[in-house]
């Protein structure tokens, strides 16, 4: 059997149904095998789009996303998506073509050392040297990508090796002596954590994307509701706990709510679950949650005490640790009234500092209003993807995510241009769900070519561009911290988004009057096929509240 045909068998054995990619010289054999392999291939318009689509697919479904690219520029175009998947722990496998082995190292046409280039940004990578290894390597790639802390795995296959004839035997196990993720949490530590919870008077549960990755939302909710524990989630964790809810404090961090940030600041116990104490969460490290004992639950031991020392570290899978922790905690029968004072304090912050904005007195659409309208019209019943910037933060603040895998965005790397291709991937994974992309006008243009993919491949995602004519978040920082010197943030002559959508064969709409906003959203959602809605919003609205970079929760402004 040709090695590439074996690859198709391996993909099917791994449960792959959809792949995203673009063919080229060095992966011609792969595409020849794909021709009648019985997999759906979504032919993207740029490899970055294919990479983000694979991420969106993985984030929406929990399955491994797969993207294919050719050697050289095809592979280097994947780099941003690979780095993105690494930062946000997205289970993905990238299969790249490579020049023939006799050309390797000679600067051959379309040769780039993609394993070398991506070494710092992959969970693991494999370069094929013997075609007989290919089946085992494909299975290793999937195993590493989806287990432990998920992440991107790259498999680079020289063109001649991919055409080689190999004896193919289905592979049923992988042997990786150097890779054995810890999944069971230490029982003694879990017991200590339960005791710490029972004696705490000002606890906060701080949940991150790891909860979503572990499929542990139910277990997180059970733990939180086993007493009146206040819960906050990171940007990546949104949906991990059902919002809105009386124990839900909102998102924490740079653009989080005051209630969440102040609660972290005054807490005597923080339970971090699948979260990595990123600088957007902690602000000034020395003043981060200074009074709190920290319980840190994470599947990646390297995250424990990386930024903030943990008093009670528990390494393992969040799902089984949380269910054990809940059981242990319930057995202690702690007195719930010990939290009364804490809740009074939290309620005080909530009342004094709710998330709010001043609506316009005229027809102008405030960006926050746009997100609220999307939430109202959909009833929250949609998968929302976003790009990166102000619109992303407003989505996080004003769209309340009821469950996991309904909020797909680029948190760690902060990749503009992520929204549309990831929505495409999410829609392929979840064809029955309404998939909405909230884009910024600056981000939208970065991967706008994928509209052609959506049209050709009949992927009906609905994109709403929050159009303020600026690189809004950068403008906000220039206004607040750089004396209002607006340097290269005005988008100038942006395209006419309605005409552009139509040129691609999608439907285009525009709305500038807040009275018509909901109707236009409804029409867009009811229109078949891909739709782009140009929503003209206030030009210079700032995203608040905000902890200025490097400052403490106490220093929140706005």
């Amino acid at each position: 059997m040709r090695a590439v045909d074996a690859i198709m068998e391996c993909l099917k054995a791994e449960g792959v149904e959809h792949v995203f990619g673009i063919p080229g010289g060095a992966n011609l054999p792969t595409y020849d095998a794909l021709y009648d392999a019985g997999l759906r291939h979504v032919q993207c318009r740029h490899e970055q789009g294919a990479g983000h689509a694979a991420e969106g697919y993985a984030k929406a479904s929990g399955k491994v996303g797969v993207a294919l690219a050719t050697s050289g520029p095809g592979a280097t175009n994947l780099v941003t998506a690979i780095a993105d998947a690494n930062m946000d722990s997205v289970p993905t496998v990238f299969i790249t073509g490579q020049v023939r082995t006799d050309l390797l190292g000679t600067d051959g046409f379309q040769e780039a050392d993609v394993t070398g280039i991506t070494m710092p940004i992959v969970k693991h990578s494999l370069m094929v040297r013997d075609p007989q290894d290919i089946p085992a390597m494909i299975h290793e790639a999937f195993h590493v990508a989806r287990s432990g802390r998920p992440g991107p795995v790259l498999v680079d296959i020289p063109q001649d090796l991919s055409r080689a004839d190999i004896p193919y035997e289905p592979v049923d196990s992988v042997d990786l002596p150097g890779y054995q993720p810890t999944t069971e949490g230490n029982t003694k530590q879990i017991r200590m954590a339960a005791a710490a919870l029972a004696s705490s008077r000002r606890p906060v549960i701080y949940a991150g994307g790891g909860v979503v990755n572990a499929g542990a939302s139910k277990e997180l909710t059970d733990l939180s509701l086993s007493d009146r524990f206040p819960v906050t989630c990171t940007l990546m964790g949104l949906g991990g706990f059902p919002a809105p809810h009386e124990q839900w404090l909102g998102m924490l961090g740079m653009h989080g709510t005051r209630a969440a940030n102040y609660a972290m600041d005054e807490a005597d116990l923080i339970v971090a679950i699948g979260a990595r104490f990123d600088d957007r969460i902690t602000g000034k490290l020395s003043e981060f949650a200074p009074r709190a004992k920290k319980i840190h639950i994470d599947i990646d031991p390297a995250e424990i005490s990386k930024n903030v020392p943990a008093h009670i570290p528990i390494v393992g899978d969040a799902k089984n640790i949380l269910s054990k922790l809940t059981r242990e905690y319930r057995a202690l029968k702690a007195d719930p009234s010990r939290l009364d004072g804490w809740w009074e304090r939290i309620e005080g912050w909530r009342e004094k500092h709710p998330l709010a904005y001043e609506d316009s007195s005229d027809a102008e659409i405030k960006p926050q209003r746009m997100i609220e309208a999307l939430y109202e019209v959909t009833g929250g019943d949609a998968i929302v993807t976003s790009d990166v910037g102000q619109h992303q933060m407003w989505c996080a603040q004003y769209f309340h995510f009821k469950g996991p895998r309904r909020w797909i965005n680029s948190g760690g790397l902060g990749t503009m241009g992520f929204g549309l291709p990831s929505a495409m991937g999410a829609k392929v994974a979840m064809p029955d769900e309404q998939v909405i992309c909230v884009a910024g006008d600056g981000s939208m243009i970065m991967n706008v070519q994928e509209l052609a993919t959506c049209v050709t491949e009949k992927i009906p995602v609905k994109t709403f561009i929050m159009n303020n004519g600026y690189l809004g978040m950068v403008r906000q920082w220039q206004e607040l911290f750089w004396d209002g010197r607006y340097s290269s943030v005005d988008m100038g002559a942006s395209p006419d988004w309605v005409k552009l959508a139509e040129a691609f064969g999608a439907a285009g709409m525009r709305v500038a009057d807040k009275g018509q906003l909901s109707d236009v959203i409804r029409t867009a959602l009811d229109t078949d096929g891909p739709v782009v809605v140009d929503v003209l919003v206030s030009k210079e609205e700032n995203c608040y509240p905000m902890i200025p970079a490097g400052q403490a929760a106490r220093d929140m402004v706005g």
Binding site: M119, P120, M127, T182, M192, P301, P309, H311, P313
Partner: protein, 185 residues
Amino acid sequence: MGEPGTKEVLNLDDLQSSGGVHTGRKHILSLLVEHRPGVLARISGLFARRGYNIESLAVGPTDDDSMARITLTVDGAAHPIDQVTKQLHKLVNVIKIRDLEPEEAVARELALFKISADGDTRAQVMQFADIFRGKIVDVSRRSVTVEVTGTDDKIEAFEQMIRPFGLIEMVRTGEIAISRGRSTT
């Protein structure tokens, strides 16, 4: 140290003395790795991008063809060793890591010294070589090359002694180490 996962109950005092913070001494990390192309690049790349400095590095085969041994020394005063080993553990090709405690390991390094020596000083240089149990491996009319093995302290001491004669060149292998007793490194 070096095992992933939470084995024992830790409190903050333990944490601050063992991990996350600096130990203040030299650490010899002995890594058993898959003998494959690119493994060394992954390790050196990890050190470079996380800002860790490698003091010395030695790579060689083991009794098992599929494995190689990498011995590196890292300054525990400058880097959080616990974080270094955890990050190394994340590399799939790294099978095993041991942070060898000085008292439970034998560490050796080989160094070659090319020392300027003519008729008058040659005898003195040879005398020092003798004291340090060095071997004369090459001699010319104006130089002597001495091979010295030992701990890095011994090699540094020898360097100090012969420097006044005129050290032309020095080449060191970097330390390798093996655990004491019956158990494997």
